[in-house]
Symmetry: C2
Subunit: 223 residues, 2 copies
DNA sequence: CCTCTGCTAGTGTGATCACACTCGTGTGAT
DNA sequence: ATCACACGAGTGTGATCACACTAGCAGAGG
């Protein structure tokens, strides 16, 4: 049980899902992928994961293979399971899809965002800013994930939300990799401030545009 | 080996995927789900599927659980795996997401659609029309799937296309169910003719609108 | 006649082993 | 020194079994 095998509820499983060793491992690995705990190209061995989490190979095998069907892991040429290295085109495709789906999810969430939610978002944004100031990349990526999905969950969308999570699973490792290459300065200017301010004004249009701008800002790192 | 366990290439696995008993079974079940071979509420037993396809429980277990992570199957209250019965809201959500994603995928595919593709689409549409005339629901659903994904595959999108397939997996069984309730007459007026005619004129805008209209037409069945 | 108990068949889950394949390495022959 | 073969460690896959749990039913006891 080396890493945080939490049972916290992620949004991906809207329907009932039994709490088994496989599902716990699956959730734990999902979080690690979204937060960039793995390096693109890294080999993910079923037996090694099983040993890390103190289970047999069976739950590990299921969790890893589920991640393959979600596109978060892929097969290498030699039948090994690895963390994908996204090509430039594919990374751009994911960000384009993110902009498309996440602005729509945000639009649906807008009416359900209460004052307490705005305060929670501002607290998360503060933590993100201190993480950036300290160059703490892990805390930044975790905060960024929490900020976006605090909003998206309020959409109560049972269809689009799982699709958005798949996109984050796929781009998480590469995003972490790109950030380490560019340094913390490259992510200094996100649009979270614009997001919360638009929410305080009750300006739905500006809110959606700020979300889109925040995602588009990630595309600039590719050029 | 009761049902068609084909090895035909579906679009969902853009990356390399080994050809094993599990993946073959997974593909076979995906096709059956998209074509409406299963009834909402039907129990999917791992051992029974294994017996049907003449394999052991292991590949069946993997294939079925993969479909659960894709949202094509869900857990019932008593831990059994069943084909989901979509609520009205959820069905509407899926169609909304389909309209959003599939018009975008079509827009990307437009430049890659050659004359031979248009002819292929017209041939598929003819088969669909005869299926409707004969009240052959299975052939209709298969043709409809082929028509749409012949277009979508030409987008060469590695990200959006798997998401679209997930949506079809989820709504396939319920769509079949709805069609049987309404009879073949309800699906008589699709927009496939408008799609191919817009392609012949080279009118991208009209093409995308026809795709969107074809999907929206499905929403009318819900009211 | 009703009720409660216990059996049975079925479910998914987890563990373990055998197999085929790949990659690297070391050893032996040329 | 160089090349070739073989061995070993590691990989995912498939089969099989034991376990816990659930639903249904049959039968004994009230």
């Amino acid at each position: 049980m080396a890493n945080g095998m939490t049972t916290e509820r992620t949004a991906h499983r809207d329907a009932f899902s039994p709490d088994t060793a496989s599902t716990r491992l699956h959730r734990a690995l999902r979080v690690r992928l979204c937060e960039g705990d793995f390096t693109p190209g890294e080999v993910i061995s079923i037996r090694r994961i099983a040993a890390e989490y103190g289970t047999s190979a069976m739950p590990s095998r299921e969790a890893v293979r589920w991640l393959v069907t979600e596109g978060a892991l892929i097969f290498s040429d030699s039948r090994k399971i690895i963390v994908p290295e996204l090509s430039h085109d594919r990374f751009h495709e994911i960000l384009f899809a993110r902009k498309n789906l996440e602005t729509e999810v945000s639009r649906q969430a807008f009416d359900n965002i209460a004052g307490t939610d705005i305060e929670a978002l501002e607290r998360i944004d503060e933590r993100i800013n201190t993480a950036i100031a300290q160059g703490d990349l892990v805390s930044y990526m975790r905060g960024n994930y929490q900020f976006h999905f605090h909003i998206y969950r309020l959409s109560h969308s049972q269809v689009l939300l799982p699709l958005v999570e798949i996109l984050w699973l796929q781009y998480g490792p590469s995003m972490r990799y790109i950030c380490t290459r560019w340094g913390a300065s490259s992510i200094a200017d996100d649009y979270h401030r614009e997001v919360t301010q638009a929410l305080r004004r009750g300006d739905r249009s500006a809110f959606c545009q700020a979300i889109a701008a925040d995602i588009e800002q990630g595309m600039l790192l590719l050029e």
